[in-house]
Symmetry: C2
Subunit: 306 residues, 2 copies
């Protein structure tokens, strides 16, 4: 069994690679839920949705989120009715959120709701939200306190981020089966997602970090950046909130207590000693994932670690 | 000022006639909310929506409900995700329900939410839900207890109805301004909607019937049937639950305590004595409203009563 810890867009590329290179039933994908938001009263779980749509073959490949060829009729009408519509929701996507919101309101936990959605969409891998409890990543910025979506989508990650916190994390518990999956896996991969806002919340759920430290599985992390800059999004801008520098070395510092291997880009090869000083092995290779072939190759390289 | 008490489809025809024949600002349309339902977690208010869409020029004229040229992408996807989809919701229609549900969840009363939706859609008449409190028409039928939508839409009004009740009616209060509108009007019209399930709930809101009895306005009711059968829907089948026969005479019996005039179809002219025995005046004319001209002509005839 392979366990993948991931956020949305960036991590989803590697998740797809693994999905193509392993038996889907052997994959457990643990998703950040710190970005979950109420949008028009609907419970939107952006990272869970990106992963589920990716595994279901529904993802919009150009955007990296939402459903391919979706329409935006509801959103257009919401705008006409005077609602704020900076958060894009496609029509078919809204069906997901309506179903989730109703099932949650009926008292089902998010993990069970996610499993039900996966079942209806023919997803054979296990997708686990990091927790059934509500956790919200809150950013203290130069423009006031923002949710992740307000920062990332509405403010286009332009404000300076002074600090962040995962509201509710103390009272959260790992989703049922999450710790067991980490313990029973042969390989755990921290996907190339934002260390502060995607991976950070998953690691902060009480018990998860300890499980990663204690598992007999090989634990590998894939860098989301090269040359001190993220492939996409603000990962490099937010590393400082973790108290580390925006580089592969900073990543090694942040993950050193549980990571056996850090996979960095071949272009960052000169950082190998800086990573190794934290007691983390290095594998330098191409970590760009522009094509499906890239994604599959990187997954294969990771599978070869065990 | 003219006050119209109405349900959805049938009554909406006459509401449109009045809208064309008077200054829209002078119209107060009081809508049944006994059919309101939670559908996929959304607060759907079918009669309010039919009236608002009618007054906004958005109504689907063929169906008599929903928005013209609407698409059903969300509903199709909801079906794919395993949801029951016998209740039709168009995409643009869903934007209305999302907005309403969110505003209600934020604590706004239904009357204010309705006014906000009217404002955004350019409706200049006043649309009042009968009450801000939740009232639900429940039917005891040969197939068990059903909500109105389950009976009307899902079961296609085929089960025998033994009795009905308006759950929550004792604790309901008329919407703000409703009793004042009835008192201040020159004309109050009970539209040709189902007496049991559309008009019945409005009349049962504590204070409404008393206001109709006490108003100095002329109070006219328009029959929803001819020859003992409704123009559409199950009105004639449900009259027995009011303890009256399915005819203009039965209607006169049901409304006699407040109605000055009952407008019946010219084909029912022989029922005039049976109506008048209840102390209700009769106006026999064509009450079919197939065309816009029909609707306007009937509204004009009613306006001529005062």
């Amino acid at each position: 069994m392979v366990v993948l810890l991931t956020g949305g867009t960036g991590g989803a590329k590697l998740v797809l690679g693994f999905h193509e290179e392993t038996a889907p039933e052997d994959l457990v994908v643990v998703c950040n839920t710190g970005d979950d938001s109420l949008v028009h009263g609907l419970h939107v779980s952006p990272d869970v949705d990106t992963i589920v749509y990716t595994l279901a073959g529904l993802i919009d490949p150009a955007k990296g989120w939402g459903i391919r060829d979706d329409t935006f009729t509801v959103l257009d009408q919401l705008r006409r009715l005077g609602n704020e519509t900076w958060f894009q929701l496609g029509d078919r996507d809204i069906a997901t959120h309506l179903t989730r919101t109703r099932l949650l309101a009926e008292g089902q936990p998010l993990s069970r709701v996610t499993a039900a959605l996966c079942g209806e969409l023919g997803v054979r891998s296990t997708v686990l939200p990091m927790s059934d409890q509500r956790v919200e990543t809150r950013l203290s910025t130069s423009e006031g306190e923002l949710s992740f979506q307000e920062y990332f989508v509405k403010a286009r990650w332009q404000p300076d981020v002074l600090s962040l916190r995962y509201r509710g994390i103390e009272d959260s518990r790992p989703s049922p089966g999450l710790l067991e999956a980490i313990h029973d896996a042969v390989l755990v991969v921290v996907c190339p997602s934002n260390p502060a806002t995607s991976i950070g919340p998953v690691l902060a759920v009480p018990g998860v970090r300890e499980a990663l430290r204690g598992t007999p599985a090989k634990v590998a992390a894939v860098s989301p950046m090269v040359g001190g800059r993220s492939f996409s999004g603000p990962a490099h801008k937010l590393m400082a909130t973790l108290g580390v520098e925006a580089s592969a070395a900073g990543l090694a510092a942040a993950y050193r207590d549980f990571a056996d291997v850090l996979v960095i880009d071949a272009e960052d090869r000169e950082l190998q000693p800086a990573v190794e000083q934290f007691g983390v092995d290095v594998r330098a290779t191409s970590i760009r994932m522009d094509t499906l072939a890239d994604k599959k190759r990187l997954a294969r390289e990771l599978l070869r670690l065990v």
